[in-house]
């Protein structure tokens, strides 16, 4: 009897563990089921169908006239002068906006990381524009940048009567940059600020005792320790800058009827949007999107590869070793 019960107990225990494990597995899949199901139905399936669509002449409506075109849509991109122009504009847009946003929000975070009075108030004020929805933000800027009735040209006209700088057409690249910077500054600043506050105070104190000035502390402590945050921000900014198109799109819809997007902000996504929704070229439009996807992913990989040269992960690694 004794022998049997001694043997039975571990087996029962093992069964219990196994049953508990099975129950937890089941529970895990039950809990993530909505997301997993949604991921398959709303992401994986559309992506596959989307890719298939890009191989056809689908117009968004008729299946009767659907024809398989192979890679013709992709070949067409190569000879689409507008697409090439738009990609160039997007690269320029990204090259202006990404660094500008990084530098401005980092600089603001640095200033607010000091013991200045009213820090909380300034932080709130700078974040406020991020809360304003795009539609209202574009209206607010339209009445500043408008060629005839805008604030800037109005004020300039006081000194130089009749000033009518086309901020929203020929110079729209600058106008849209201002709008994008204005709405993005807050979130960038908040993230940098959190990063700066994570820098150990002792490190800066120690450097100061060793006789390092503000400049050297900045170069040799602040910047290296912030590189992981800068890296994260750079990746996110690059990815979102390539998808930008709501601001240029709104500039035209809120203006005169039937106006077209000015050439200076004819971004890649604007071109894609027009192919899709103005000309109903769904096959071609999705092909354009896949090209965008490849370009963005290639850039992201490039940035990730570059990380080993400039992102300082030693602090993290050392912390890990200590544990």
């Amino acid at each position: 009897m004794v022998a049997v019960s001694a043997l039975a107990r571990p087996i029962a225990g093992w069964r219990l563990v196994r049953r508990r494990r099975a129950r937890r597995t089941l529970a895990f899949y039950a809990f993530i089921a909505p997301w997993l199901l949604g991921f398959v139905v709303l992401t994986v399936v559309p992506l596959i169908l989307g890719f298939l669509t890009s191989l056809t002449n689908y117009d968004g409506l008729n299946l009767a006239s659907l024809r398989f075109l192979g890679l013709a849509n992709y070949r067409r991109i190569l000879s689409d002068a507008d697409a090439r122009f738009a990609l160039g504009r997007t690269l320029l847009w990204s090259a202006i906006n990404t660094p500008l946003w990084l530098v401005c929000s980092f600089a603001l975070a640095l200033i607010l990381n000091q013991e200045v009075r009213g820090r909380g108030l300034f932080r709130t004020l700078y974040y406020l524009p991020s809360v304003i929805p795009a539609v209202a933000a574009v209206w607010a800027w339209k009445i500043i940048l408008d060629r005839n009735y805008g604030l800037i040209n109005g004020l300039l006209s006081v000194f130089q009567p009749g000033t009518a700088i086309p901020w929203l057409s020929e110079y729209a690249l600058y106008g849209v940059t201002a709008i994008a910077l204005w709405s993005g500054l807050g979130s960038g600043m908040v993230i940098f600020l959190a990063g700066l506050q994570g820098i150990p105070e002792e490190l800066i104190e120690a450097a100061r005792i060793d006789g390092a000035g503000t400049g050297r502390i900045f170069r040799h402590i602040t910047i290296p320790l912030m590189t992981p945050v800068i890296f994260f921000q750079l990746v996110m900014a690059l990815i979102s800058s390539f998808q930008q198109f709501v601001i240029p799109l709104l500039l035209t819809t809120s203006g005169a009827q039937g106006a077209v997007t000015p050439r200076s902000v004819y971004l890649y996504m604007i071109h894609t949007y027009r192919q899709l929704f103005t000309y109903q070229r769904f096959g071609y439009g999705v092909a354009l999107l896949w090209v965008l996807f490849v370009v963005v992913m290639a850039l992201t990989v490039l940035v990730f590869r570059s990380a080993s040269y400039w992102v300082y992960y030693e602090a993290l690694a050392e912390e890990g070793r200590g544990r």
Partner: protein
């Protein structure tokens, strides 16, 4: 004075940042003629509060606002629940395949969203779900990677003992989640809810492509200027409507500022 230069920069930036908001409010109180006048008039002769009345009366503003609000609340309720559930699964349960699935969640944070948006639209339109509000329900049910990530980060900080104690008491996973984890997660729920609601309320692109003019939301309605009976744009009235349109989000921001800023930091998501 200490930080003299810093204060100078802070004040200049404050002026630059608040100028568009101030100018929007000031212009919304002008007569249309004052807006169109040359040379420019900075302040209205007398504030035209009537613009705000017209903004609400001239078009069925209330109807559009109610629609945006209901859509936002429906989506938010669903998305918060499903994202929290997935976040709980990833934070607190073990199962084969979990790590790989979490990698998928992380990868989805980086993949440009627009590449998925359009094929999704094609599928929805084939299913006859465009020009209905079902897509918002389905998106809500499907949770969002950003919010799953945020909930997971939060749930990992809740002490294990709570869970063990509950399990000893014979508390099932469902009850553990709804009766112990969720009531203890109010800050992250607030953050997630504000982000989700702001997204729907401010979103211009999705209703633009999905909904017809008769069913569209406030954001799309306000993207074009109000017109007078002769078809001339009423800019200052439209601006007044924009100010009203912004108020709920500004109010939410001031109420939940702490939560929002923390949410921005954990996810990198904009408000």
């Amino acid at each position: 004075m200490r930080f003299g230069l810093s204060y100078l920069v802070l004040v200049v930036v404050t002026l630059l940042v608040s100028l568009p908001i101030l100018w929007l409010v000031i212009t919304s109180l002008k007569k249309e003629i004052e807006y169109l006048s040359y040379p420019i008039k900075i302040l209205p002769r007398s504030p035209q509060w009537g613009n705000y009345v017209k903004a609400v009366m001239l078009v069925p503003f209330g109807k559009y606002a109610a629609r945006s609000f209901l859509l936002g609340v429906t989506f938010t309720t669903l998305a918060v629940c499903t994202s929290a559930m997935s976040g709980f699964g990833f934070a607190r349960l073990e199962a084969p395949g979990k790590d790989r699935l979490f990698m998928v969640v992380i990868a989805l944070l980086i993949v440009p969203g627009i590449v998925m948006t359009i094929p999704q639209f094609i599928v929805f339109s084939r299913l006859g779900l465009t020009d209905t509000y079902w897509p918002w329900v389905l998106w809500g049910l499907a949770a969002s990677p950003f919010h799953i990530f945020m909930f997971r980060q939060f749930f990992t900080t809740i002490p294990r003992e709570l869970e063990d104690a509950a399990e000893v008491d014979g508390c099932g996973m469902q009850r553990l989640f709804w009766q112990i984890f969720m009531p203890n997660s109010k800050p992250v729920i607030a953050t997630s809810a504000i982000f989700n609601f702001s997204w729907v309320w401010g979103d211009y692109f999705t209703p633009l492509i999905y909904l017809s003019d008769a069913k569209t939301t406030l954001a799309v309605k306000l993207s074009t200027a109000y017109l007078d009976p002769k078809g001339n744009p009423l800019i200052t009235t439209t601006l007044a409507a924009c100010v009203i349109y912004c108020l709920p989000l500004v109010a939410l921001f001031f109420l939940g500022q702490r939560h929002i800023l923390r949410g921005v930091v954990t996810t990198g998501l904009k408000g």
